[in-house]
Subunit: 508 residues, 2 copies
């Protein structure tokens, strides 16, 4: 055994990487295999490494515990395994570990810190110019979002016909100068004119995405990676099963060690006509087998839901089912699936022609509150037309909408929830949505939301012998007004405006 003592140390839930040089000849992506086994007192994990181009091979690992680790790397091009050791130090103050499902329908980081997703979608922000990416990261740093959905493959769609900064495979794309707003649909899902080798990755494309995942991690933002999607003109959405498997394994080998990764198997899986349910199940099987960290896994629909009761699905990732109502179904879906309900697309704030991309900031914010008070989580996106042609939902950039500030306020309110999250109170009146803390039979915490209704007052009937602090929350103006301590029957005056809430908490 070629024992190499590493004096290296790494933070818990950070990435330990072993790299070495190896053969460049033939097709290293398909012909070479490198694997690491990582062992500590508390865990043993086997992970695939990957070829990173230019003769470099890497094996990445995320340690889940502090203390001493040993590893052994084997490869078909190594005569004997390479082994070593490293020390895992405690997580830094901003590092809470990967996000897990907590208390059935909510989330928490692995260290127990509650996580209330306030997600956004910027499908290919990371494939834009350096300037635009920098601007996106600045927007994210200022904004409310702690999760962002984006694609590994480039995107071909209305308002997004430009070339990505790089392609995931070696080869050359079709001539995009022929594309127009009018004709782009006929190129969708048509690989003609492209010359890509779906067995040879372009490492630079993936390295760049890793940099983006790390940049997000630095901002405390989860990277909800959309691994496949139908908005394609390059053939990536209709590769054969062997190439798909190669891709999934490569993606896991490269990205799984980043603690802030979530796996979204697809966006609008049901629009990918070349894939069957058994294909999706086979990709899920790869994830379950090859990702030792069990990152969160879901798959996003256009119309029909995927079967979220499948054991590998950790949470629902739902698209709006109805123009008028969706967040309002959150509690039904919780009941049905007994998993967290994340409404990753409930229409976008904006003003484009499509009904999925032209709701107001008020309506976006209302949908978030409706979902939150029912114990689930809505998702943001923004599609405002502007002269630059840069739409947040596709390219990132600058936020133009009214909702982000209000979503930041909602997140602040959610962070004051006792425990991991809310659930709808079964005693909710028909004309309000009342939430209580999910994991306490009587948490003494009540959040009443009035949506677009405008009550001028509401009457309450709490226990006589207990005291409750009352606050009036303007979810749009983002204000919290103290209304003193009450017990028994009391009335709370309201301004007769939409989007008001009342928070009532038992005092010690």
């Amino acid at each position: 055994m070629n024992e190499t003592q590493f004096s290296k140390s790494v933070e818990r839930w950070d990435v330990f990487e072993y790299s070495c040089r190896g053969p460049k000849t033939g097709n290293p992506f398909t012909e070479r295999r490198i694997t690491g086994v990582f062992t500590s007192e508390n865990e043993t994990a086997t992970v695939d490494g990957f070829y990173d181009g230019d003769g470099v091979y890497r094996v990445r690992f995320m340690p889940s515990f502090t203390g001493d680790y040993r590893f052994a790397v084997t490869a078909d091009f190594l005569d004997i395994p390479v082994s070593g050791a490293f020390r895992v130090t405690p997580a830094g103050s901003e590092n809470h570990g990967p996000v897990r499902v907590a208390n059935a329908c909510h989330f928490a980081h692995e260290d127990g810190t509650p996580y209330y997703p306030v997600g956004t979608t910027c499908y290919v922000w990371e494939l834009q110019s350096d300037t635009l990416q920098r601007r996106t990261l600045e927007s994210l740093a200022d904004g409310p979002f702690n999760k962002i959905r984006f694609c590994i493959f480039p995107k071909h769609y209305d308002y997004n016909l430009n070339e990505p900064r790089s392609y995931p495979y070696e080869g050359t794309p079709m001539d995009s100068s022929v594309l127009t707003k009018e004709n782009f649909y006929q190129y969708s899902g048509n690989p003609e004119g492209n010359h890509f080798d779906y067995t040879r990755f372009n490492p630079e494309h993936f390295q760049h995405i890793e940099g983006c995942i790390l940049a997000l991690r630095g901002l405390g933002i989860e990277a909800d990676l959309i691994v496949m999607h139908p908005y394609d003109r390059w053939g990536f959405c209709q590769m054969d099963a062997a190439c798909d498997a190669l891709y999934w394994n490569y993606v896991v080998a490269r990205f799984a060690a980043y603690r802030n990764v979530w796996w979204s198997l697809a966006n609008e899986y049901d629009l990918m006509s070349h894939k069957s349910i058994s294909d999706w199940e086979s990709y899920a099987a790869i994830l379950c087998k090859k990702d030792p960290y069990r990152h969160l896994r879901s798959i996003h629909n256009c119309k029909p839901f995927y079967d979220y009761s499948r054991p590998w699905v950790t949470h629902c990732s739902i698209q709006r089912q109805d123009i008028y109502k969706t967040a309002e179904y959150t509690d039904e879906w919780r009941e049905r699936y007994q998993k967290p309900v994340v409404l990753d697309e409930i229409a976008y704030e904006g003003n484009i022609q499509h009904g999925w991309g032209n709701i107001t900031g008020q309506e976006m914010t209302r949908r978030f509150w409706e979902a939150a008070c029912r114990g689930g989580y809505a998702g943001h996106g923004e599609t405002y037309l502007n002269e630059s042609g840069i739409l947040w939902w596709s390219h990132g950039g600058v936020l133009h909408g009214d909702s982000p500030g209000r979503l930041k306020f909602l997140l602040k309110i959610l962070k004051q929830t006792p425990g991991y999250g809310l659930k709808r109170w079964e005693r909710t009146s028909w004309d309000e949505v009342a939430a209580v803390a999910d994991q306490f039979a009587d948490g003494g915490y009540y959040l009443f939301y009035y949506s677009f209704m405008r009550p001028s007052f509401r009457d309450f009937d709490f226990k006589d012998h207990e005291n409750y602090s009352v606050e009036v929350i303007d979810t749009w103006e983002t204000t919290i007004e103290d209304r003193g301590v009450h017990s028994g029957r009391f009335r709370v005056e309201l301004p007769g405006k939409p989007y008001m809430a009342i928070r009532i908490r038992r005092t010690a």
Copy 2:
């Protein structure tokens, strides 16, 4: 035969009334019977008369045709029938006859004039002070409404605990000074403390309502009479079957001859716990037997629908089924019942504490447009708190809301519909509601409504060889902007605001 030649004439669809004196002794309401038979070339109708107090008996008839009529009145207190004749002159320019169902799901007056209901509710406006009633009529004269729902019996409910101007029966009511906002529920449906004789009507109460029906008729407004309702502290909602039958017969005998009467058997029939479905069917049977004019008949729910497929039900009279969506189900209900869908309560514009009474004017107006573009009709109501304690929904008075002006505009648009009304276009895109003229396979008329969505433009694809005039309608600002004539594929720019519509009409 006691032939009396009348030189009287009456307008078609106006009221011909025969009156005479008769006995006052005993109980004329139960012991006496007077009937008229009216005959012309085109019709023969038998109608009950009624005792109007103070020894006066009346028989009323609404002639449906012009020309000469003869009549014979018989009564148990008359030895021989009284007969006579009168001439029916053509209807005046403002008199279009009673409203009928037209083209299955719409309405028209009997002379064929389309009628697009824009209704409101003022439950007991007619039982308030003279001043307040006058104010209500002024508001109605200025407003958009061509139908008003109100009760024959007084109302006991939140915000409406005062005494009515009169009671429908002889007797004395309970002492209402004991009532408070807090305790009124315990008096609901409880006849204790009242001393009414449910076999002796108070003619003055009914005479007054007749005056109100006539006043409405003069304004071109249909009187949607709510004959029974559960908001009661006097026992009127739980009389026995004999008294109920006496009441229904009396109501028909008195009111049926007014052409603008509609019969609403009940408001929230399902809250009237003393009545069964067979009771409602028995009242409907009285109406069908005794109202020779076949005025429109329906019954209004709180939660479960009445079976609107019953043959006697002329149209659906629906209350909101869902806080978020109701008007949006209009086309489903049309399909199911093949009758006009009138959403008589879809929440009220206002700011009271209850969720049914605190939506915005925008939301009220949106619900009207959603219903209209699906070929149905929403209903208005208003519940703004104010110092006078006078809420339109209960008392009438002055309108405070933002929606009435917009409903007037909607009515103007509806009056420009070819034929009797709209239906949802089966080729409507998922993110719009598009209406076409109901009774034409290709009416060349298209109304696209965008609800709370805010498209900045929409693309259309019409026939190349035909010309279409395009207008952009701001349903909130009540403006119509001419956008010229187009054919084939064309784009319509929009302001990216909510509540916009596009009207496209084929030009000759």
